[in-house]
């Protein structure tokens, strides 16, 4: 910042108050571009609210809790998709969170130097795989494997827990959970890694010097230090899981209801939109689908603003510029 002020100071000193037309034009066009970005966000919000209007006025707030999607009787509600979204993304986060912490700790604390760079690159490659490819793998490889081997085993062993009911097609909530876990793992782990790298080494050395083991240092120094950032990383992972449409549509099966059995078909907000938006039978159904998109949009706005504010405050505290998604 100081350099900017300094340079504009220099200009003023040299040119007095004279302003170049070129300066004005560049500033104007660049400013217009920045404005355009804001306008796009505004347009997105407006278009989605506008599209959802019919459903909003017809179903109101009750839409959120209604578990139904019945084009024949014109009854629509987001209940089952909110349930499906919450179930899939929370379990995925539960699986991916600890795994990601493990990876981040490994990469910052344990890995020999020569392993760090390649493994970091590998984990980041996982993030680069397009969701449709993960979905392709999910529907053709993962789903049959889970259906034939993993799900029957879980059902036999933990069948007394209602979550592990009777396996059916492999196109189910459980497969969607695994797919989502894979997709959010690299996001959470790479942010956590950067956070852990930002922990001042004096703090870590001080703790180790006091005779703690490495794990005690991690628990006592690194986790508390990076707490806010880790929360942000998890929230961003959650946001990603909630918004993922394609890979989930490919594997989740599609079912309206609130099944407790993970091995039955379900739907999330995003997957319902992806599978039905093109073929919606009536204007009301289209509007109801955009209403689902509105819920997604509001959620993603909240999640991102919240997480970014945390990330920014963490970055400011640590003097880091590298912490981001």
């Amino acid at each position: 910042m100081s350099t900017l002020d300094l340079s504009s100071e220099t200009t003023r000193r040299l040119h007095g108050r004279r302003v170049h037309l070129g300066d004005l034009l560049l500033q104007g066009i660049a400013g217009l571009a920045a404005l355009a970005a804001l306008v796009v966000i505004g347009l997105i919000v407006w278009k989605v609210i506008d599209g959802a209007r019919e459903s909003l006025s017809r179903f109101g707030l009750g839409f959120v809790t209604t578990v139904a999607w019945d084009p024949v009787h014109n009854l629509f509600g987001a209940g089952s998709f909110l349930y499906g979204t919450a179930l899939t993304s929370l379990i995925a986060l539960l699986l991916a969170g600890p795994l990601a912490m493990g990876i981040a700790l490994f990469l910052t604390e344990l890995a020999p130097r020569w392993i760090q760079a390649p493994v970091t690159a590998l984990v980041e490659t996982l993030a680069a795989i397009p969701s449709v490819v993960v979905g392709l793998w999910g529907i053709l490889v993962l789903a049959p494997t889970l259906r034939d081997h993993v799900e029957p085993f879980l059902h036999r062993t933990f069948g007394f827990i209602p979550l592990f009911g009777n396996p059916q097609t492999g196109h189910d909530i459980f497969t969607a959970v695994i797919v989502l876990t894979i997709m959010i793992l690299p996001i959470v782990s790479s942010i956590s890694r950067e956070l852990f790298l930002g922990v001042p080494s004096e703090l870590k050395e001080a703790a180790l010097g006091l005779g703690t083991t490495r794990w005690e240092m991690v628990r006592g120094v690194m986790f508390p230090y990076a707490r806010g950032g880790i929360a942000a990383a998890l929230i961003l992972g959650l946001g990603r899981a909630v918004g993922e449409a394609i890979a989930v549509t490919q594997v989740i099966g599609g079912f309206v209801g609130t099944p407790v059995n993970l091995f039955s078909a379900g739907d999330t907000l995003a997957s319902k939109i992806a599978s039905e938006y093109q073929g919606a039978a009536t204007n009301l159904e289209t509007s109801a689908l955009i209403h689902l998109a509105l819920i997604l949009l509001v959620f993603s706005l909240l999640v991102n603003v919240f997480a970014q504010v945390i990330v920014r405050s963490v970055a400011r505290r640590q003097g880091l510029t590298g912490v981001r998604r």
Partner: protein
Amino acid sequence: MPKSGLFRTTIALAVAAALAAIVAASAGASPAKKQDTTLTGAGSSLIAPALAVWKPLYGAARGVTVNYSSVGSGAGIKAITARTVDFGASDAPMTADQAAACNGCVQVPWALTATVPVYNIPGVGDTKLKLDGPTLAKIFLGQIKTWDDSAIKKLNPGLSLPSTSITVAHRADGSGDTYVFTDYLSKVSSVWKNEVGSATSVSWPTGVGGTGNSGVAAIVSSTPGSIGYISDAYVIQNHIAKARLKNASGRYTLPSIKSIGEAASLVKTVPADMNVSITNPPKTKNKKQWDAWPLSTFTYIIMPATTARAHDLKNFVTWALTHGQPPIAKYVFAPMPLVMIKAANKALTTVHS
């Protein structure tokens, strides 16, 4: 930055905005030209095989390329309503609401085909399984849960049915097949009619959704114990076992050019909106009609009554109704009955540019 910074930015924005407006205006002045040698359509996956056959034939005969995207009947109606294509295609006639929304659309029947229940039961071969309407409805309602249920056993004496649980597969997208299938179930089961009803997309009591005929076929062919419904053309392409279905005359039939034609031969008059349902044809003693397939359907092309492409569209549909019928017989499209062709031609006269 000092106070003047804000002032400067405002002036700068104004200058740039003026510039941008000029650029945008000049860009908008040159609209996209549309090629007139192609017709673009979208919709029903039931009719997709026919259009795949027609495309090269019609291209060779008339020099017009017909591009078709199989996105499902619901999406087809939506696409023509939004005028994002030259024509839509649907197996379900438009509802009153849809017709109103479509703002002056004409629907013309242009092919006759069928949907069929398909299954994947270990040890039960193609066409071995017999079902009747009420049993099929109970399966799709989730009331019959295993293949060795007494209701199914009763219809299939001598067939050894496993105790495998039944997995229902249905369409996840809006589909004409779903309309035909649920239309039939509504006619044979009052529970179905009251609780679920018929439409291109319904609230399924049970099961797993797949996208398109392909999606359902994929689930059924990969899932032991599953049952679904797909259009006959896709059965032929993918070698999936299809079930015999008992019609109102008490005969167990299979879809074929003959049995679909029998169902269609019962049509005597055609209403102005072309809405003709030929599912579950009534009981008859006439041997020429008693094998009628209960899941037969006409399928429709939908186009705007007023369109710049009227000439090309009318030519194409007229061709499809005549020269187009024989080559699609290999995908189990039966010839259209005369009364329907007459009605179709009459409807075509209302399309103009």
